[in-house]
């Protein structure tokens, strides 16, 4: 009887100890760490960094390997301006960030040159200051009317189809991009890329 009682007490201690281990081993501690910026990110189903990187790298690869662009860039570096990517999805997406990545990769390839339409006002302000303010030595002022006009316009659309039911949500993104010759109005290159993301409630798990 006494032995049995002792055994019961011992197993109670063991149980308490194990519970403590379970609770302390998996405690929610706030830990800050650096992650890989290039890693696949699946925090939720919304448009994320992986989608941005995938879209940018696929579009750049497609553009740089297209035969038309090969002819276009054979002996010169065409000047391009980025119009914008229209966000037709239901989410807020910073599409300028996508065009920034694409134009950076295109510039880095050494095949294209860009003019930046988002900084026109700043340039005008600076040139006005240089040419009209008495502080500046006129010999060193950058003259008006010397900038080079863009020959091509890069633009596109990002659209999505979202569907969900009680257990599953599915989102499909379609990203279309085009390069237009501004003199003739012809679309010289176009491509699209698709992304499908699905989120299911897991039956097991914590």
């Amino acid at each position: 009887m006494i032995i049995s009682k002792k055994f019961k007490t011992a197993s109670t201690y063991a149980l308490v100890g194990l519970s403590a281990l379970v609770l302390s081993g998996c405690a929610n501690k706030a830990v800050v760490s650096y992650g890989d910026a290039q890693a696949v990110e699946t925090t939720d189903i919304n448009f994320g960094s992986t989608d941005l990187q995938k879209v940018a790298s696929q579009m750049t690869d497609s553009l740089l390997s297209s035969p038309v662009v090969g002819t276009m860039t054979a002996n010169k570096r065409p000047i391009v301006f980025v119009e914008r990517i229209k966000n037709k999805t239901s989410e807020h997406i910073d599409t300028e960030s996508i065009t920034d990545s694409i134009s950076t990769q295109m510039l880095r390839s050494g095949k294209f040159r860009f003019v930046d339409m988002t900084r026109v006002e700043s340039v005008r302000e600076q040139l006005t200051f240089q040419n009209e303010d008495a502080l500046i030595n006129p010999a060193t002022a950058v003259a008006f009317g010397k900038q080079i006009g863009a020959q091509y316009m890069l633009y596109g659309n990002l659209s999505s189809i979202v569907k969900s039911n009680a257990d599953k949500s599915d989102v499909y993104y379609k990203f279309t991009m085009r390069l237009m010759d501004m003199e003739s109005g012809l679309v010289e290159w176009a491509d699209e890329t698709e992304i499908r993301k699905t989120k299911e409630k897991s039956t097991f798990g914590w």
Partner: protein, 141 residues
């Protein structure tokens, strides 16, 4: 009582998941012999997946590659791959951040992974393929 203690032990072991496996298989263009370019760091994945071909050509003065990936497993595999590019001296191309890209490979399927050099300086490449690691890459709801 005798069931509760083992149950707790199992809970303890399963709840605190270990760090994810991030090794995989790779092809590195450091020699001209195809067999010597292959590297298997994860034998589990190496048994289920193989790199069977590498093709290279020049497109618009840029190195263009396709790597053929063949599944040797009956179920779908959820993978990620990443290209890295090097110049003629073996230096990594600066400022080029190729992302890991997600890939679903169905049972016994074959697929070609395309890669294009970011600039004409990039002449050799390496490709790493790994399984989707279990931690932080699954939806938690």
């Amino acid at each position: 009582m005798k069931y509760i203690v083992p149950l707790f032990a199992v809970l303890m072991l399963s709840a605190c998941s270990s760090k994810p496996v991030t090794s995989g298989i790779a092809v590195e263009q450091n020699t001209n012999k195809f067999n010597e370019q292959l590297r298997v760091d994860n034998s589990d994945l190496g048994n289920k997946l193989a790199i069977t071909d590498v093709k290279t050509r020049q497109t618009n003065q840029l190195t263009d590659v396709v790597v053929t990936l063949s599944s040797q497993y009956k179920k779908s595999q959820y993978l990620q791959y990443q290209f890295n590019w090097f110049d003629k001296d073996g230096f990594v191309i600066k400022g080029n951040h190729s992302p890991w890209q997600a890939l679903t490979l169905f049972g016994f399927a074959k697929t070609q992974l395309p890669g294009l050099a970011p600039s004409s300086d990039a002449v050799t490449f390496s490709l790493a393929v790994r399984e989707v690691s279990t931690e932080s890459q699954e939806f938690k709801d």
